[in-house]
């Protein structure tokens, strides 16, 4: 385990959460949570059902603004944002339930991920020739590299709705990658997959981290997967943080074990 430790010392904090409180009416989803995500690491968020994992992810990407506490992203403190500002800040995500355009082809779906990189206005795009065309070609080329990277050449033109679940998940990852994010949030990327699909997805996540140096935060239920691919793990239970550290530390943490297996009172 020396490798991730060295990586951590060298890296700076990409995201820092300080004493976050988030509630919906009277329901407290997250209370007083602090942790950080370092540049270039794979950070897993785990916890039993209802622990506040997805809420946490929504706080990280700015969709929810916490009532209390500070969020620092990329060296700046974050304030409440409008949805388009969220899109432009450099965080891309995939969803627990796939959220693709079912009737559009794989290629078009991934192209939508390039939206934040298109500078030409609607008029240019309607004219098509000239700068807008050039821009489209550049973006298409970028998307083709992602298609190659994810090995989905054969389904490039297939409507997403016709694809099996595992492949749809891969397409969703592709769309997130197309935004060239600083940080990638994956909400249960392996849910509902068979062993082979899980192995593929693990390899892609590690390859993304390795090749592009993208920082990854992921929520996952499969402990085997988490312990294998995460550099550090944060554990939530009932909206509180009960553990934080490398997989080895977490594996042997009594509080975490109790939260997962239950304790007799």
């Amino acid at each position: 385990m020396t490798e991730p430790l060295q990586k951590m010392e060298a890296a700076s904090k990409l995201l820092e959460l300080k004493n976050i409180d988030l509630s919906f009416g009277g329901v407290k989803a997250i209370s007083n949570i602090s942790f950080d995500i370092l540049e270039g690491e794979v950070r897993a968020i785990i916890g039993p059902n209802g622990a506040g994992k997805s809420s946490m992810l929504n706080v990280i990407n700015g969709f929810y603004h916490p009532q209390q506490g500070e969020v620092w992203f990329d060296g700046k403190q974050r304030h409440a944002m409008k949805p388009y500002q969220i899109a432009y800040q450099g965080i891309a995500r995939t969803f627990q339930n796939i959220a693709l355009f079912k009737g559009m082809s794989v290629l078009d779906n991934i192209m939508t991920g390039r939206f934040t990189h298109m500078r030409k206005n609607m008029l240019w795009q309607a004219l098509w020739k000239g700068p807008a065309e050039q821009e489209e070609i550049e973006n298409r080329e970028f998307v083709e590299h992602i298609i190659d990277f994810l090995e989905i050449q054969a389904i490039r033109k297939t409507p997403v709705g016709r694809l099996p679940y595992g492949l749809q998940k891969r397409v969703e990852l592709g769309r997130a990658l197309a935004a060239q994010p600083k940080m990638l949030l994956l909400d249960e990327p392996m849910a509902g997959m068979n062993v082979e699909e899980k192995e593929d997805m693990c390899r892609f996540i590690l390859d993304v981290n390795d090749t592009f140096g993208t920082t990854i935060a992921l929520i996952e239920h499969d402990m085997g997967v988490v312990m294998d691919i995460a550099d550090r793990v944060v554990v939530l239970d009932y909206g509180r943080k009960i553990g934080d550290g490398t997989p080895d530390v977490i594996r042997n943490d009594q509080t975490v074990i109790d939260a997962y297996l239950g304790v007799s009172h």
């Binding site: 298409r140 390795d210 090749t211």
Partner: protein, 659 residues
């Protein structure tokens, strides 16, 4: 027929190796595409002069890394331009490329690495490098691995072995070239026609694989003269999608491309082959029979789902094609009305269909490897696709026989190729002598001596005979051919293939060696017969029930009698008509050890396990009880029991037929 003693000519004097041919092509076809690969959704191309440059730099780079004449260099990769360039670069140094199947598991790869004594391996990607590292301990000779695709290779620094990027090696070569501009030329000038050009390991259904050593005179001359016979030109387009370690790909996509100067297209990935083929529209194409068969099935299924008008149009024009298309293809006289009908059909059906199959521009298609059904064969030919059968093996550099234009029959494999002498040995085995006949088996003189006689005759292991019009007909593996008590030949696979061409027969096993008559086990095709049962309101709960249904038995009896009738056409085989048959109560299954994993029948095991049934067939019983163990997919073992009905088949009297 040219004797093997008289050497065939090179494409031009002195062009006796592939590196020399490459230089020649770079001069002749400087700006013509030599290779294309679809990458990032776009076809990237390289001209002959660009390929020559890539190969030269890589060759000099390999030399800088210590590769020298006589070394074996292992190549593990799919159909990618760099895989083919590596082959030529290795040959430039006088070293020997040893391509191996990139889908083989680490242990299989280890055997080839060890046996070939390769010191340098060129691997396509991380997956292949990982396999090599897995078996590294057992292959101490390996010193250097060069990889093509850098993805995931960051941080690979094992201490036992050196790992380099393809482009790094090319850069080393570039540096050498700047200092010594003539070095490459001097290297390739040393090569000559009888040098070893390649070692190909055969898949080896029995025992360990054997390394077939081939010289330039084998591959280059055979490929070149095969291409001349078919009048191939530099304008052909071919899709390289079959394993590079297979002799067919080596001849079609390498030897013939270099000798004729035509372009080789590499698909984007193995899953995109069909789409890439449509985009390229190859003019020269090879596929094993099962590919043609599955394409035809998919066409038929899609037509069944089409609108009634389209379906009728398709049926009508396919009938027209059947009567007219083949005649047109073979330049036989056709009336004006038929010609007009065919032209109309071409506009409405054939051309769009061929385009959908990616065969719109195919001038020449080969198929080989196993028997192909007459229906399938005729379907493609009636569309105007010149598909022909050839017969060959790794040891012959592919070509032994090819069907000449205008003499194409579904049941023969054609006449001897240029430079091939063919004989039928006393035991019925096909033997040949040719310019393509292999040099030897690598480090295996016993096997070489067993297969190749001192006069150069090579044993194919296949039994066959020459038909009255001079064509070769392959009937079976020589070791499977038996004799009836009458002393006449019994070729089980030949009869079984005839049976299997019926869509409702899945598998068949025939018996007759050392007996008076031929008997058969039949497996029905659950898909096809089940479909038929559904349409005819026949209820069934299991394979066993369906197989025992009287109507099904009647249908199979009809097929058996048709096979018997067709056997009459051949004097050699007329006596092997099926006397009695039965439909097995279970499907023969690889899980039960009855078939090999590639679905070949294991005769010996079936002979033992079903002895009761075989005896019943020969005893004249009409019913027999059987109990068989079956293995379920989860590993449990169960039993299937049942009474099986045995039927007499309708046979035909050869004498009556003749009179």
């Amino acid at each position: 027929m040219a004797s093997s003693a008289q050497k065939q000519s090179y494409p031009a004097p002195g062009l006796d190796t592939f590196p020399k041919l490459l230089q020649h092509n770079a001069r002749m076809y400087t700006h013509k595409d030599a290779m294309r690969e679809k990458e990032f959704g776009v076809w990237q191309s390289w001209t002959w002069s660009q390929v020559a440059d890539e190969v030269e730099r890589f060759a000099l780079g390999l030399q800088a890394n210590g590769v020298k004449a006589g070394d074996a260099v292992l190549i593990v990769g799919g159909n990618r331009p760099r895989t083919y360039w590596t082959m030529c670069a290795v040959q430039s140094l006088g070293a020997v490329p040893v391509p191996t199947y990139h889908d083989s598991v680490a242990d299989e790869m280890q055997f080839v690495i060890e046996h070939s004594e390769a010191r340098v391996i060129i691997a396509e990607d991380q997956e292949q490098v990982d396999k090599i590292l897995d078996v590294k301990d057992r292959c101490p000779a390996v010193e250097l691995v060069i990889y093509d695709d850098p993805r995931g290779m960051k941080g690979y620094a094992p201490d036992v072995i050196e790992i380099k990027d393809f482009v790094t090696v090319q850069a080393q070569g570039e540096a050498v070239r700047t200092q010594h501009p003539n070095q490459y030329q001097e290297l390739i000038n040393k090569g000559k026609g009888d040098d070893i050009s390649i070692i190909l390991y055969t898949s080896g259904t029995t025992g360990k694989p054997k390394g077939v050593v081939l010289t330039y005179d084998n591959t280059l001359l055979t490929g070149y003269h095969g291409a001349l016979m078919e009048r191939l030109t530099e304008k052909e387009e071919i899709l390289a999608y079959l394993p590079v370690a297979w002799i067919g790909d080596h001849i079609f996509s390498y030897a013939q491309s270099y000798t004729m100067g035509f372009c080789v297209n590499c698909p984007e990935s193995t899953e995109t082959v069909a789409a890439d083929m449509r985009e390229i529209g190859p003019t020269y194409y090879f596929a094993p029979p099962r590919v043609f068969e599955s394409l035809l099935t998919s066409v038929q299924i899609r037509m069944e789902d089409a609108a009634p008008f389209k379906r009728k149009m398709f049926k009508y024009f396919m009938q027209v094609a059947k009567t007219t298309g083949i005649k047109l293809l073979e330049n036989k006289p056709v009336g004006i009305v038929d010609r007009i009908k065919y032209a109309l059909g071409n506009a409405l059906v054939y051309a769009p269909l061929k385009d959908a199959l990616g065969m719109g521009r195919v001038r020449l298609a080969y198929t080989a490897g196993e028997a192909i059904g007459g229906e399938i064969f005729d379907f493609y030919r009636s569309l105007g696709i010149n598909i022909k059968q050839l017969y060959g093996q790794t040891e012959s550099s592919v070509f032994i026989t090819v069907q000449p234009d205008g003499e194409v029959y579904p049941d023969t494999v054609g006449t001897p190729s240029p430079g091939v002498e063919l004989k039928i040995a006393d035991n019925g085995e096909v033997i040949y002598r040719s310019s393509g006949a292999f040099h030897s088996y690598f480090k295996n003189p016993e096997a070489t001596a067993d297969t190749k006689t001192s006069e150069g005759w090579v044993h194919t292991g296949d039994a066959g005979f020459m038909t009255s019009n001079g064509h070769l007909r392959i009937i079976d593996r020589a070791k499977d051919v038996g004799t009836f008590n009458s002393g006449k030949m019994f070729a089980p696979k030949y009869i079984e293939n005839k049976l299997k061409f019926f869509p409702h027969i899945q598998e068949a096993v025939t018996f007759g060696d050392g007996k008076d008559d031929c008997m058969a086990f039949i497996n029905i095709d659950l898909g096809a017969v089940g479909n038929w049962a559904e349409r005819n309101n026949i209820a069934y709960a299991s394979y066993q029930e369906l197989a025992a249904h009287p109507e099904v038995n009647k249908m199979v009896a009809q097929s058996v009698s048709e096979v018997n009738e067709s056997l009459l056409d051949d004097e050699m085989l007329a006596h092997s008509q099926i006397a009695r048959f039965l439909i097995l109560h279970k499907e023969l299954d690889a899980d039960d050890g009855e078939l090999t994993r590639t679905k070949k029948v294991k005769r010996k095991l079936i002979n033992e396990r079903y002895k009761v049934l075989i005896d019943a067939l020969y005893d004249g019983k009409t019913q027999c009880f059987i109990e068989t163990e079956v293995a379920f997919e989860d590993g449990r073992v169960g039993k299937i029991t049942g009474d099986i009905n045995i039927h007499d088949a309708k046979t035909f009297n050869p004498v009556a037929q003749a009179s």
